[in-house]
C-alpha cells in the first residue's frame, strides 16, 4: 500500500471537484489528447457497451476530434473485471465498469453501484450529484488512483432465473447461483452458494448445471443471454440491485493533465451518457419482457417471507461491516441517512401516484 500513500501525499488524492483544479501548464488551445478506455462489457450487451461509445463520440464532436477516446470491449486489451486495476496502473486512461465488481478489494465498492435494499436510481443520482455522495466515493476511490463519474444506471433489476419456484427461504437452500455484489453475501446467509461469473460464461454454466440459478440484469439483456430457453421462473424484484450505477473511472494523473475545457466537456458528456443508459433500458425492457412472457416465461414475485429474511440478513451484514471496515463505516451511515430522508419524501409523493396509476391499468 506504499504506492497508494505516495499518490495521496503527492496531491493526486484531491477531492473530486477537479474543475477547480488550475489549468495544467501544458494547456495550449486545443491540444490533441488520445485516450484508451476499456469497457467491462462485450459489444453484444449493446446498451452497456454503447454508453461508453456515446461518451467517446460526443467528446470527439465537441472538440472537433481533438479529444479522442478509443473504446475497447471486455477482454480485448483488459479482462472484464481487470478494468479498475488497469486504470490504476495507467495501462489504460479510463474504463467503464461496475464499482461492485471489486468488492473483493473492499466491500465498500458496492456502495458505488447498489446494495440490497438500498437506494433506487433516482435517489442514488440525487445523493451522488447533490447530496455529498460524489465526494465520499471519490475519497474512497483515491486509494485506487481514479476519479469516478456516473456512467449509466440500469434501473431496478430483476431477481433472476430459477429452475423451480422459490416459495420459502428453504427453497433457496443449497442452490448454486450466479449473483453479483453484496446480494451474494446476503443470499449466502439464506443458504445459497453464490458464484461470480462473467456474462459470457452464464448460459453454458446454467445448461451444464454448474449453477442452478442466475441473475444478470433485466429483460433486455437477459433475453439476449437466452436463460429462458433453459429455465422458466423469472423473479422480481431484484432487491439486491434496486438502482445499480455504472461508472467511468479515470486515472487521476491523466485527468489532471486535461485542459479545463476538456474536463468540462467530459463532465457534461458523462452526464448525457448516464441518462442515456437509464432511458434506453427503460425503453427496451418493457418490449423484451413482453416477448419473454409470450415465450412461456413465468413471472414470479419473491414472497414477503423471503424478502424479510433477506432484509434482516442485509442489515446484519451492514452492521458487521461497519464494525470491521473503516471505509464502510465512513460512507454507509451517510448513505443510509440520506436514504431514510429521501424515502420519507418519495413514499408520500411518487409512491402513491404510482400505486394509483398501476391500480387503474
Amino acid at each position: 500500500m506504499q504506492r497508494r500513500s505516495f499518490l495521496k501525499k503527492t496531491g493526486l488524492g484531491l477531492a473530486a471537484s477537479a474543475a477547480a483544479v488550475a489549468a495544467p501548464a501544458v494547456h495550449a488551445g486545443e491540444p490533441k489528447v488520445k485516450w484508451r478506455m476499456t469497457s467491462s462489457f462485450p459489444k453484444s450487451l449493446s446498451i452497456l457497451y454503447s454508453t461508453a461509445e456515446l461518451l467517446a463520440n460526443r467528446l470527439r464532436e465537441i472538440t472537433d476530434g481533438n479529444f479522442d477516446i478509443r473504446v475497447f470491449p471486455a477482454g480485448k486489451i483488459v479482462p472484464s473485471m481487470g478494468a479498475l486495476d488497469a486504470v490504476e496502473r495507467g495501462t489504460v486512461d479510463m474504463c467503464h465498469t461496475c464499482s461492485y465488481y471489486y468488492t473483493d478489494k473492499n466491500k465498500a465498492f458496492a456502495l458505488g453501484t447498489s446494495i440490497p435494499f438500498g437506494m433506487n436510481a433516482r435517489q442514488f443520482d440525487s445523493w451522488v450529484m447533490e447530496g455529498g455522495g460524489q465526494k465520499l466515493l471519490d475519497e474512497f476511490y483515491a486509494d485506487w488512483n481514479v476519479y469516478s463519474f456516473l456512467g449509466g444506471n440500469t434501473g431496478v433489476q430483476m431477481g433472476g432465473w430459477f429452475r423451480n419456484r422459490i416459495e420459502t427461504v428453504r427453497d433457496l437452500h443449497g442452490l448454486k447461483m450466479r449473483i453479483a455484489g453484496l446480494g451474494g453475501d446476503v443470499m449466502q446467509q439464506l443458504g445459497v452458494v453464490p458464484l461470480q461469473l462473467p456474462a459470457s460464461a452464464l448460459y453454458s454454466a446454467l445448461e451444464k448445471g454448474i449453477i442452478d440459478a442466475v441473475e444478470w440484469i433485466a429483460p433486455h439483456d437477459d433475453e439476449k443471454l437466452a436463460f429462458h430457453k433453459l429455465v422458466k421462473h423469472y423473479y422480481a424484484p431484484g432487491w439486491w440491485e434496486p438502482g445499480p450505477a455504472v461508472h467511468f473511472y479515470v486515472n487521476r494523473l491523466q485527468w489532471n493533465k486535461l485542459p479545463k475545457s476538456y474536463q468540462a466537456a467530459f463532465r457534461s458528456a458523462a452526464r448525457e451518457a448516464h441518462i442515456y443508459m437509464y432511458s434506453l433500458y427503460n425503453r427496451r425492457n418493457p418490449e423484451a419482457l413482453s416477448r419473454l412472457l409470450q415465450a412461456g416465461v413465468h413471472l414470479e414475485t419473491f414472497s414477503q417471507d423471503v424478502m424479510k429474511r433477506a432484509w434482516e440478513a442485509a442489515m446484519d451484514l451492514y452492521a458487521d461491516e461497519r464494525r470491521k471496515n473503516s471505509a464502510w463505516a465512513k460512507i454507509y451511515p451517510e448513505y443510509n441517512r440520506y436514504l431514510r430522508l429521501i424515502s420519507a419524501w418519495f413514499c408520500i409523493s411518487e409512491y402513491p401516484y404510482d400505486r394509483f396509476i398501476y391500480s387503474m391499468r
Copy 2:
C-alpha cells in the same frame, strides 16, 4: 400562419436530429457566439433558475468563453409566459420555460411538460430520449420556429394547498384555485374555478381570498412562497403533474447557424442541466417537507373518490381533444401507447421494490 408555412418550406422545419445538419458555411474554428436566454422563472426560485445558469456556465467552460449565453430572469427583458413568443420572433435566441404555459395556443403543449395521470419523470425521459417523443414534439414545436431540449424535471409534484380538507369531490365545488396546465381543465370538471397566475402573485392572492387554493411545485419551492403561513392542508400526490419537464427552446435559425461542435456541446450540457434539476429537487424536497411538517402543516392524501373522478374527467378530456385537435391526435396516442407499455414493466419491477422498502421503514 403564412410565416409558419414559410419557415417550414425554407427547410427550417427539419427534424430535431440537428447534429446531422451540415456544418454551416460560417463555421471557422471557434467563432464567438453570443446568445440571450430568457428564463420563465425568477432568481428566487433557485433550482429552476440555476438550471439555465448551469447550461450557460458549462458552455462557456467547454468553449473557453467563445459560446457565451447570457441568462435573464423572468420579467427582466421578457415576461415569464412570453418566453416562447420571444424565441419564435428572435427577440432572444433561446428560453427556459414550461411547455404547458402555452396551452392557450394549443393544448398539445401540455404533452411536452406533463399531463394528469401521465408519465412520471423517468418514463417521460425514456419516451423523449429513446422512444420517439423528441421527434413528435419537435414536429409540433416547428410551428413556433423552435427546437426543444429537455431542461429539467421537478419529479412528481404536490397536490397543493387548501384551506379546508377535501374529502369528496363536493368539497372542491366552487373553489377558486391557481392550477397550471391541463390539471386546471380536469379540476374544472370537478367544480373548481381554475386560475393561472405567476409565482410572484400567489401569496397575495391567497391572502386576499382571490384564490382559495394553490398548487405550485413541491416542498422546496412551496416553502419559499410561504403558503403554509396562510393555509395548512397540503395534499399529495399531484396527479396532474406526475413528472413535469422543463424545456430549453432554441430559435431554429440560430441553432442551425451554430458550428456542429457547439451543437454537440449544447446537447451534452442540456442533458447535464436536465438531470441536475431533477436530482436537486430530490435533494431539497425531503428537507423542506420536514420543516413544513414541523411548522404544523397537515399532510393529506387525495381520496380514491377524488382521484377516480379526476381520472375519468381526464380520460374524457383526452378523447375530446383527440377529436378536435390534430396535434393532440398525432402525439397523444403515441404517448399513451408508450405509457401503457412502460407501466407494465415498472409495475412489476420498481413498484414492488418501492412498496417493500417503504413498508419496512
